[in-house]
């Protein structure tokens, strides 16, 4: 260490200038923001619950079941997704469909999100395009394991996310979670 470096003053001063510049520049931007110039931002923070960054369209979010034009689920209970699922979190019970052209239909379609690893294999495996992961919903926490189990009715009620990646249907809040 050179004796010049032992005298910290120069480095201290340059550091103080740097942080002080950040302070004043950011303060000016905050002030401009407060005075109505909303594009001026003094911080890189995104204030999460009120403000969200746009999600990528390929994001794998909460699953939903797609409906046919008549409103019934597209799922034909082929068990492909249940078979391919590495986490074994999908449970399907097959039943008869009144239309004889359609061989089977799911009477129960349950996903245990407490087990799901969000790999998206179920979406890839589905031959009927009946399950998708495009709701844009990411906040589905629960205080119990039971609250993480999503049934057919819940999954059918969800809408795909908007073009900006924002979820269009409300978060299905389990009964044990106070919002």
């Amino acid at each position: 260490m050179k004796p010049v470096q032992r005298v910290y003053l120069r480095e201290v001063a340059s550091g103080l200038v740097l942080t002080a510049r950040h302070f004043f520049v950011n303060m000016g931007r905050h002030l401009a923001h407060a005075l109505g110039r909303t594009e001026a931002r003094g911080a890189v923070t995104i204030q999460y619950p009120e403000e969200r960054r746009p999600y990528a369209p390929r994001l794998r979010s909460l699953h939903r079941l797609v409906r046919r034009e008549d409103g019934s689920p597209r799922c034909v209970a082929c068990m492909m997704c249940e078979t391919v699922c590495p986490a074994h979190c999908i449970y399907i019970v097959a039943g008869e469909h009144p239309n004889p052209d359609i061989e089977k239909v799911c009477t129960e379609f349950t996903i245990d999100l407490g087990k799901c690893v969000f790999c998206g294999y179920c979406v890839e495996a589905c031959p009927e395009d009946a399950i998708r992961m495009d709701t844009g919903i990411l906040e589905f926490s629960s205080y119990s394991r039971g609250g993480m189990i999503y049934t057919k009715e819940t999954l059918l009620s969800l809408e795909p996310a908007g073009p900006d990646g924002k979820p269009r249907s409300p978060v299905p809040i389990p009964a044990d979670r106070t919002p």
Binding site: L9, L16, T19, N26, G42, A43, V44, T45
Partner: protein, 361 residues
Amino acid sequence: MTDVGVAVGRVLFVMLFVLNLGGLLTWVERKQSAIMQDRIGANRASIFGLRLWGLFHPLADAIKMLTKEEFYPARADRVLFGLAPFVSVFCALVAFASIPFGDTLSVAGREVPLQALTFNVGLLYVFAMLSLGVYGVMMAGWSSANNYALLGGQRAAALMITAEVAIGASIVGVVMVYGSLNMMDIVRAQGAVLGGWLPMWGILTQPLAFVLFLTAGIAATKRIPFDMPEGESEIIGYFVEYSGMKFGLFVMADLLETVVIAGMTVSLFLGGWQVPYLVRDGFAFPWGAAFALPRVLVTLLQVLAFMAKVVAMIWFLMLIRWTLPRFRYDQAMRLGWLGLFPLSIANIVLTGGALLLWGPR
């Protein structure tokens, strides 16, 4: 009766100023560091949806700390353990007492000096109180029955001696220039103008002492870059066993010491309550222009100037705290004993020589 009222008023003003500023500093610290680091900082505490840029966070912190469990370690010395935080805060609080916040004010035909206590040795009193504060820290370290706390207390004692020696030696130059240990006299002497236009502030007459005093002063507050007593990243420090408001009092004491150091720096080096060219009955500019003002307004301006200077100085101390990395224990000791102390002795010699050459006969 008036005497008691005036005395209570003086003490109350200083007390409320220091206490409120110290409480606000938790907010200032969080917000300023956030803005320096391109963040927003704590802004969620609200009362009826009113957030006020997170100004309620100190309040929320106080409520949290007051309602937390007061934990006493099994083998702790209960008396000293309970007493330590109060000693720390008390010494930090009373240290501000002899720092003047304005010139004299006539109240009911009396000239009242605007400082909580009028002392002929006010300067020494502040340093005495600042040094006594370390007893609280040492008591905390010793009574906790915790090796880390003991290490922290020991480091605090070593650091305080290092800092106090440097502070004491660096202000000797100031005392020599202004010829008094009375804080009011020192500030008053800084109102003189040098060569007809330059205000004779301490930073101009004693630039080296200013740097030395500021460095040692930061060390006396036990905050980063001189936070060896706390040493968050290594030993957690003297308050490792404290919880609840007792822990809060130690944090408070550090912030109050910051206020005191800022007040000292302003009084000794930045002209105290002096506004450049403002004399007793108005502005008198060096180019001959004069601007008369009533006495009360002049005093008000001076008090406001003092407050603004203290706040600006606190801002600067916070800037240093959030910019510099911390010193290692041995580095701080080396800086204190081989850097600050000899330099302040040299400053005394230089000041003596300069006074001999150009000083008043």
